[in-house]
């Protein structure tokens, strides 16, 4: 955040990035659905060096009661980083950054979840960042979608997410921690492919109007790749042979 140093080589002369990827390549993503015993639904994602656990409870009674809505269910999201998840110990209490990210992830998921089917209840999504390596909000959103589906909560679509950005004057897919720190722009995107709707979008950094459009399009390609991995994670749990449905 803020400190954009240019002393790391983010893109070599062959167009290869600091971690060996091409410009339009995501990091390795693996998702496993149903990893917790007590939660209604859960998922574990490894997105490059990010390791994130998602747990969903509900629909269940709302506490405190005044938060309940007679017309619809409510969605509550907590994004939380463990003290040991980053280089320097992070204080365990939720920071302002975590509160904001919780809010944007909640708003990215709301269009997908059919909360109106469960009036007066709450669906709670807990996202625990065990290890952070750049792009945690996208990876957490990916895991949250799978955990919600695993909980059997009716959804219009899975929300898939991936960041795009700009480093060394080049648009890149799936910005890693190094590129976020030293690059020129980071744009996390959340997307519902079947509905063609972008439900999470933020940007830090400078882009021209033309780069802005291309950056979204590049990010959506990454989202679609993650979407397939999300569906496979659910297939593997519920159709254990892994066959296509």
């Amino acid at each position: 955040m803020g400190g954009r140093e240019a002393n790391v080589v983010l893109l070599d002369e062959n167009g290869i990035r600091s971690d060996g990827r091409k410009v339009n390549e995501t990091r390795k993503v693996t998702i496993k659905a149903g990893v917790l015993k007590n939660a209604s639904g859960s998922a574990y994602i490894e997105f490059g060096g990010n390791k994130i656990l998602a747990g969903v409870f509900g629909p269940r009674d709302v506490h405190p009661k005044h938060m309940s809505n007679p017309d619809t269910g409510i969605l509550r999201v907590r994004y939380h980083m463990e003290p040991f998840s980053v280089g320097e110990r992070k204080k365990p209490a939720p920071s302002r950054r975590e509160i904001e990210i919780s809010k944007v992830i909640k708003e990215a998921l709301e269009p997908a979840v059919m909360l109106e089917k469960f009036p007066r209840t709450a669906v709670d999504v807990y996202l625990e960042i065990l290890q952070a390596d750049g792009g945690t909000r996208c990876a957490a959103l990916d895991a949250a979608s799978v955990a919600l589906a695993d909980a059997g909560i009716p959804m219009r679509d899975l929300v898939c997410a991936c960041a795009s950005g700009k480093a060394a004057d080049t648009l890149i897919l799936d910005v890693n921690n190094e590129e976020d720190q030293a690059g020129q722009a980071d744009m996390p995107i959340g997307y519902m492919p079947n509905l063609g709707k972008i439900t999470l979008l933020q940007l830090d950094g400078v882009l021209t109007a033309d780069e802005y459009k291309k950056c979204i399009e590049l990010g959506l390609e990454g989202c679609k790749q993650v979407y397939e991995i999300q569906k496979n994670a659910l297939r593997e749990k519920y159709f254990s042979s892994g066959d296509k449905d």
Binding site: G3, E110, L195, T199, Q202
Partner: protein, 272 residues
């Protein structure tokens, strides 16, 4: 949309009916922001200040400049920090107590737009590398809430920063000492302008007022710099946008941002 009261639902249908005829509830065009009035230098005790009215939304921003320790990883740069608060007198729904997520988001979106644009050349704020730097704090308070606090707070903070005077300190025995009567203009590199747009149904409206704000499907705040490049962006609200809508929003943010930047420039020239 969750959490709508009956009144909000009736308002939404009224607002949507009007939009279908190309009209808005306060007679503005869809791409027309509310009138913007900026007064600078309103708080003499602050190093810079502005009172902004965007329609009936009113904000007061004050700048305080003081020596501080640098962030550990940024010893060669000064500190910049932006906060925002909705005062309890601003709206019947505003409460005292710890900030709610929407207020935290407000402060962070205003901060991000200014920070990412590189508006202030923080490298000029170093007194002694890694030891002592100048911090510039832009605190904005909402005194009257009539919707779209993002843009109103952002314009107020930006106008206050442009007109702020930076006192001079020198290091003596490892302590920064204030040199009286040697103030300089703030080192400004660009003027970031945010434009917030809402989507109701298929319609994109610029600068939603509080009635419209209550029934938006989704909103987006796009900040552009003086070169017309996009420097920060935040989507909010419980629904999404299509790619086409997002491209339209970026175009709106550039053209409207340009007009608003002229208003900010004019308002801040007198205060300098």
């Amino acid at each position: 949309m969750a959490n709508l009261s009956i009144i909000d639902k009736l308002k939404r249908s009224k607002i949507l009916d009007l939009l279908q005829e190309g009209k808005r509830i306060d007679d503005r065009a869809l791409d027309e922001p509310r009138p913007l009035v900026i007064d600078t230098g309103v708080i003499p005790h602050a190093n810079g200040s502005a009172r902004v009215r965007l329609g009936d939304t009113e904000i007061v921003s004050g700048i305080k400049v003081q020596p501080d320790r640098p962030f550990p990883d940024m010893g060669d740069k000064g500190i910049f920090m932006c906060t925002a608060e909705i005062l309890p007198l601003a709206h019947p729904s505003a409460e005292t107590g710890p900030p709610q997520p929407d207020v935290i988001e407000l402060a962070r979106v205003v901060d991000r737009g200014i920070r990412e644009s590189g508006m202030i050349d923080l490298s000029q704020f170093v007194l002694e590398k890694d030891k002592s730097v100048i911090g510039l704090f832009a605190d904005s308070v909402v005194t009257d809430h009539d919707g779209n606090l993002f843009d109103a707070c952002s314009y107020a903070a930006v106008a206050a920063i442009i007109t702020s005077k930076i006192p001079k300190w020198e290091m003596k025995d490892d302590i920064p000492v204030l040199i009286e009567n040697q103030e300089s203009d703030a080192p400004i590199t660009t003027i970031p302008i945010s434009v917030t747009m809402g989507r109701i149904g298929e319609f994109i409206i610029v600068d939603p007022n509080i009635d419209e704000w209550g029934c938006l499907d989704a909103r987006i705040t796009i900040t552009t710099n003086s070169d017309g490049n996009i420097v920060a962006l935040q989507k909010g609200g419980s629904d999404g946008f299509t790619l086409e809508q997002l491209v339209k929003c970026s175009e709106l943010s550039i053209t409207i941002g340009k007009k608003i930047r002229e208003i900010v420039k004019q308002a801040t020239e007198g205060g300098k």
